[in-house]
Symmetry: D2
Subunit: 313 residues, 4 copies
Amino acid sequence: MRTIKQPNDAYVYTLGPSHPPIAKVAPGETVQIETIDAFEGRLRTDDDLYSQKCPGPPRANPQTGPIYIEGAVPGDSLLVSILDIEPAEPFAVTALIPEFGGLTGTTQTATLDAPLPEQTRILPIEEGEIRLSETIRLPLDPFVGTIGTAPDLESISSLVPGYWGGNMDCVETRPNSTLWLPVCNEGALFFVGDAHARQGDGEITGVAAEMSARVTVTFSLLKERRIRWPRIETSDYLMTVGSARPLEDAARIAWKELIGWLVDDHGFDSLEAYHLLGLAGEMRLGNMVDPSYSMVAKIAKRWISANRPTGDP
Amino acid sequence: MRTIKQPNDAYVYTLGPSHPPIAKVAPGETVQIETIDAFEGRLRTDDDLYSQKCPGPPRANPQTGPIYIEGAVPGDSLLVSILDIEPAEPFAVTALIPEFGGLTGTTQTATLDAPLPEQTRILPIEEGEIRLSETIRLPLDPFVGTIGTAPDLESISSLVPGYWGGNMDCVETRPNSTLWLPVCNEGALFFVGDAHARQGDGEITGVAAEMSARVTVTFSLLKERRIRWPRIETSDYLMTVGSARPLEDAARIAWKELIGWLVDDHGFDSLEAYHLLGLAGEMRLGNMVDPSYSMVAKIAKRWISANRPTGDP
Amino acid sequence: MRTIKQPNDAYVYTLGPSHPPIAKVAPGETVQIETIDAFEGRLRTDDDLYSQKCPGPPRANPQTGPIYIEGAVPGDSLLVSILDIEPAEPFAVTALIPEFGGLTGTTQTATLDAPLPEQTRILPIEEGEIRLSETIRLPLDPFVGTIGTAPDLESISSLVPGYWGGNMDCVETRPNSTLWLPVCNEGALFFVGDAHARQGDGEITGVAAEMSARVTVTFSLLKERRIRWPRIETSDYLMTVGSARPLEDAARIAWKELIGWLVDDHGFDSLEAYHLLGLAGEMRLGNMVDPSYSMVAKIAKRWISANRPTGDP
Amino acid sequence: MRTIKQPNDAYVYTLGPSHPPIAKVAPGETVQIETIDAFEGRLRTDDDLYSQKCPGPPRANPQTGPIYIEGAVPGDSLLVSILDIEPAEPFAVTALIPEFGGLTGTTQTATLDAPLPEQTRILPIEEGEIRLSETIRLPLDPFVGTIGTAPDLESISSLVPGYWGGNMDCVETRPNSTLWLPVCNEGALFFVGDAHARQGDGEITGVAAEMSARVTVTFSLLKERRIRWPRIETSDYLMTVGSARPLEDAARIAWKELIGWLVDDHGFDSLEAYHLLGLAGEMRLGNMVDPSYSMVAKIAKRWISANRPTGDP
């Protein structure tokens, strides 16, 4: 299995069509991608404060990529089956950073209040657990916070989630899931980074347990299969991810896309799908801290199999 | 066990301090409360449309109550342990009603778009399942949509959720959970209604599987224990419910209250609790359709037991 | 001209149908109503802090009323022509109060940030000017912050704006304007208070220049003329007031109601009115600090007179 | 006076650092810039529908630029004094376009409702007036909807407003105003387009009276004067522009920046400035239809001159 790493540690901070690809892969290929943590390895002790060690947005949230997928053209969907996410180091980092987070004034929800104190916390990873404090250990439960394709025409900060994926920060982009991303450029131009050892719903402090990682994925293509927003499929669930502010609009986008999926592929008409989700839909709060918020709409496959006129693509 | 029903079917449409109590109970008492469905029994066939059969807000969402709990005074918390919720009839009702719902223009998110077609659907309940269609049956999974105490001074439509509980429409108010509600008036003045046979996260059509029910609860009091927003406790979880628009404010309220609970009772300081929830918090979307939206913040007890300096109250 | 004052200084803190009327007036009658400032006269020096002197919500924002208008029945509109607003004392009061305001964490936009320092400022009123500081004097420009009718069934805190008027805090409810309010109860049940010596758009600190006042109004009725949200008419403008969160929903409500007015009374079809407002509509930010925010949509009469098939009602 | 036009009509659709400059100007230079309308001249009759004639986002809202300003380096502010905006053709265009606008479901406020009918309307411009219909003529009142500098690192759709300016769609960027923009790249890299013959507050249909234009501006630089968000200065007002969703966050950003300006340059402390804006601030709703909404906070210079310890820069 091939390993892909960012040449010269020249990580990128935008997802866009003009970065030269760092590697080419063929559909069906499984690769192990090396990612660096969201702080680019600069926070290594509790004394390393973000405002002192890191340049700040937009030179934040370093990504590995772009990876060029052969044969991918606009109008296709890129499928990324996430097989494994492994910490590359025996620790994760979390922090409180100025003007960022769910329960504090920010650059967007601007207030005159004094900010929370800045803080860095190194969290040792031992035996499949993350040590938060003397008394609290939480299971390692990794996923990738930022994963996407180059948008159409634009080159957007890796901190932002949107229709191209990006910084969705939703735990569902984890091993044993397949992420569908729209292809907007030839080669798809795939980026990944911001691996999390663990995160709560909403990523409410603004920062998860950030870690460098080895991310093993298999790429494949659904040719001429256009999607408007990212999708995630597991053995048990169909999911869609919407990103926007306010949070209810992120939810609306996700629900509407999920209804569309049920209509297009599972024989529903749109009001039937609306009722099904109204009674059996599930929603995961991805993040409520990034420049757009992300919500994941989910439907368990067992509720739709009876209705399916044809097989899944 | 005593049964409490609304005398003369004179259900109430506001939660407030001026309705005469329909019953008095003592703390520790278990009662079975009869509630009617959110349409007051008026929608019984698919031809019964809401706009024709029901008077509409604010004479909507009929509640049983108020029930006077002896010894309850402002500053106490009322604990409502929900033991059982049983359908009173062999069917539930769902509907699409004008200017209401998550994926349509509404009285608040006002648009010029033509509304969705109005619709009523009677859903038979058979053998622990709700029949949504020929091919789709969903498990019965009851909870109460509206449950609360009279607010302080105000008398508010039963359609609205807030600090007093009310129409939170979150599935967590279900059997095997204990709901904490603030006591703002002597006797607490408890109301309940709007039982749901089942509901998805968000209640996205605006209407769940509405049913008349028998709700078995035990009341108790935490004397001189003031809370600002409702809480829910189960064997495994501590939860708080925030209600507001936009949805991120409902989330903020819930998270902040949960941090407060961890600080007050579980030996955390507030930034430690912020980090714990940032890594291990969970969030349930209650509703994104009511005049205020509701979100439930949750922390699994297993993550906090190591940190607890004293026992639970 | 009759003077109406609150008997026994028993001001009310909710707008609702169950307060006994303090006076009856006939349509066409002009009365002078005495109102007390939003702090009920308790803040009289800079040392009088809100958290110490005032009980806080919901016993806040004292109103004079209700006034019963003879012949008013549900389905009518109550017209309140505001003739004059005069300070009752030679000063106004402004303040920074905890957890309230546009640029600070609040009970709804909940944060962990330390609050702004509490502050009271007495502002002398001299010769038609308000003295904000040694060097800054601003013209007296009075309006009423809270003005409305009893809602249907509910009894709602005077701090809240809504379809019944209430705490809209928009400067347009001033002398030489006529406010239209929906009649939801027999007698209309009119309330007024919270007079402001002056206020900026948005009331961004949370508090305007609050003053006790004498408010001179003439009441009249539009029989069988139902409106959904408040309206304001001046010699030059038609205006509607929407209240909601987030702020864009308050705007949508106001725009949609204004389109409805142009359609119902001025011969427009709805898309024509949409285009007219898109090119010539004006919007005033009322408040962005109250439990719901308020926005005023406005159209200058000179842009619609050519289109008017009949006269104004 | 030099005329600058886009070579080969190769308008650009993103504001970003990688487009080659089309011209270089020196600070102090006055130039006339030719811009094309937001539909790139493709809608010329009422039968030309947007969905048929235009490729849609992100190849929308064509901009003239970038213009390189000699001596501009990151950390400077670029001042753009707008002298004149003249229609280049005797008509403007407005339209209703699918999934766009303030009072309809959109790609962000996603609904299942049927969209409004698509529509194009050519509006003749005659004798300083725009003819909206047989009976309604509105004065020509031009401004530029999109005006900005290249952001730092990112290349963002011209449809989006933000800290770099962009598609703010606020009427204040008009003749006799000076716009301040942050310089994030060497040469500033200035873009302009989307001239409007006229627009109402909010641009509520989604589209103003769009026109091709000749925009006359003078560029100058404030060296080493960093600003976070755009500012506008006229003879009578200081203004700041915030862009975000929800709308209250756009307002918060604008108010906070204006407070910062009053503190930095006009001798205020921050709570004094907060009180001044609370009593005398004004707010203009720019747009409530673009991917971020824009609000303009304003303070009349006459209220601050007494407080000013030094002169204006």
